[in-house]
Amino acid sequence: MTSTLPNSSPYTSAPASVSRVMLKVIYAMIPGSIAHVYFFGWGLLINMTIALMTALLAESVVMQLRKRPTLPALFDGSATVTALLLALAIPPLAPWWLPMLGSAFAILVAKHLYGGLGFNPFNPAMVGYAMLLIAFPQNMTAWIPPHELGNTLSFMQTLDYSMVGTLPANQTLDAITMASPLDTLKTQLMLDTTVSQILLTKPVFSGMAGIGWEWVNLMFLLGGIWLLLRRVITWHIPVAVLAGLGAMSALAWLIDSNHFATPVFHWLSGASMLGAFFIATDPVTACTTPRGQLVYGALMGVLIYIIRVWGGYPDGVAFAVLLLNMAVPTIDYYTQPRVFGHGGK
């Protein structure tokens, strides 16, 4: 990794670099993040900052220990993207050690124990998230409602909570947090109500999906489309994920619309768009052949749905990603493109 290029052709190269790629990914996260902050308050920014600092620190410590040049690793942007994705998955109102632990785990264990950039089979951000969810389920499921529903914490109040765990005098954590829309739907459905009743009566829903969530998802969709246009990612994975998720939800909804929500609800809920465009497309851990990416994405969409609807977790994206990560080498091997001059037409 430290060696220089051998003096052999080609003697010219495109001005591409890993950091440029990562930088574009970071730009593309901006609209979704703004929507997130708008609806769910300042917590995201605080979490992002903590996660980012932790990730960069962890990255440089590891690079030092492995006796590798530190600066290129910090500037290649991959640790940054990991940290930001993780922060987006953590509830906005969270104690400081939550993003910190998750981020450190993602970089140290999920990334570097497996050999560092390019060698990690599992998406580091999702490993970090999964670890937090298993270790601290309560903190990880306490979402604050969008500001329409009374989340009025100021930046300083949020920071206070993050740092020392205190809330303004008249408020308690239980009072201001509530289950996320996906969780709400799941628990309410057990009470023998229908989807349409729940969407109309429960305040977290806008009638289409969760208040705020639909906008966050639409903004990530926007950023994702921009990534597509800038050719940072290809259409295969996101389209396949959304198609897989859409197909499953459409099927269930057509069979029993009382107990299953529409595809649109699922596309605009939870981490659907973030997952489809930003997490599933992580090049290191995703399939690399075009056909493989379609298989990978579609299976992931199906899994997201299954875990969401029948699983015990608030959303299915993280576990769907991790499960599919394991299948990548096999999928890639069996979906090699037809090589020029080898049969076909």
Partner: protein, 544 residues
Amino acid sequence: MIHKLNRFHGGLHLPDHKAVSMQAQVTPQPLPKQLVIPLQQHIGAIDEPSVNPGERVLKGQLIARSDAHVSAPIHAPSSGTIVAIEARPVAHPSGMPAACIVIETDGKDEWTTLTPCADYTQLSPETLRQRVHEAGIVGLGGAGFPSFIKLTPGIGKVVETLILNGAECEPYITCDAMLMQARPDTVLQGAQIMLQAVQARHCLIGVEDNKPTAIAALQHALQALNDDRIRIVPIPTIYPTGGERQLIKVLTGKETPTHKLPIDVGVVCHNVATAAAVADAIIEGKPLISRYVTVTGAGIGQAHNLEVLIGTPMQTLLEECAARNVPDMQTIMGGPMMGFVVEDLQAPVIKTTNCLLHQTKPQSQAALPCIRCGECMRVCPAQLLPQQLYWHARAKDLDKTQDYKLFDCIECGCCAYVCPSHIPLVHYYRFAKTEIWAREREKLKSDHARERHEFHLQRLERKKQEDEERKRKKRELLQRAESPDDNKQDAIAAALERVKAKKAAQQVAPQNTENLTTAQQAKIDAIESRRKTLSNDSGQDEGQ
């Protein structure tokens, strides 16, 4: 009429840097004092000198040849005295010196007696091939494969299309463009002669559309010629559209199967410069002793094309073109995508030297790990998975690299060009290929039984082919009985051809690797010769 074009997968739009060397006309290079002529300028067997030191030679006189089938004779580029036959620095990826004939020129540039031919249409395909061979013509596009072999379709093979490759898709290089511009008639004559030699129905001349002047010149010349078998086809400028198999796909839609040759899909493909050399050889009787060379690059004051005698030291060309001589410059023979660095500029121009690219050494960037972004895969014209090839080549998992079809890699460099991690991918592929060849050789060496078996099979096959050939020849001779003047000549040519075929067969048989075609064998040889450098380099492998 618009010719329907096809696409190949991937490829790149590269900045072409061609305009700079296209401004000036082609200038003949002044006669150098000394000419250094390597005995191997082609793919195939090395030539034996047929002259001795002290001997005076005339321009165009044969000075080296080989009895091997895959070979091309060499001629004196100017008149003068042979002063030495010894190892000299040559342009080769290995950087090793090689045997050369050194001629001290006498300034008279005195030609030997040539045998021009006023009407080549009177000559049989065999005679044409024979003369192309005797003129020492090899593929001038860079590969250097003896051209007469590619003009020999072989028994039972019908050539539908002759393709002339005027794509010249590598950046910077303009010698073919210049040739098409300056001598379009010669190129077209070459096409006609080749059409006759391979008995093809028609000829497509593919030229990238970034050379409108060359296309116009050819079209103009074609109008005058009024030969409706020939078509000039502008093709989109996408690197590497000049790769033989890529060009065939673009022009005909046919995909040459990996283990087959273009002839198996009814196509024969030659470079435009080769066609011009064929025309000169047949019509004027001139052997191949000079060529157009582009001298260009950021380090060149006056980039342009020169007409250069084979054997001219590269250094003198650079001086001619006002090369800046500062440290950290390097000279590449060929283009930036597939060329190689010339270590010693005393090395001479050879038949395959199309371009000297003089520029600053690229800054060494540290390679990052592969992030599997797939960019390389999206540009690979062979539809490979370069990232997987790299992964396995790096791990020295040679079997896996073959699973991923390493040997379909044409080393075009597209993947390395786009890689955001700046991984020298092609370097890894070359290394893996040479490793595999080495391993294969070892295995076969110890596998005598199989060797003998294959030899036996080959012999049977050869005997069958020879019988058929003999029968065919007999039929042809009988048929031609009405045209008596050609008859004798043909009979002689046929006899020669038979002798050669036999020799060729003897050549091929002991090679015993697998059922290799000559082209494959040639490829192996080229790869093998790179081994030295590569195995040295590989010591500085990525330190992961």
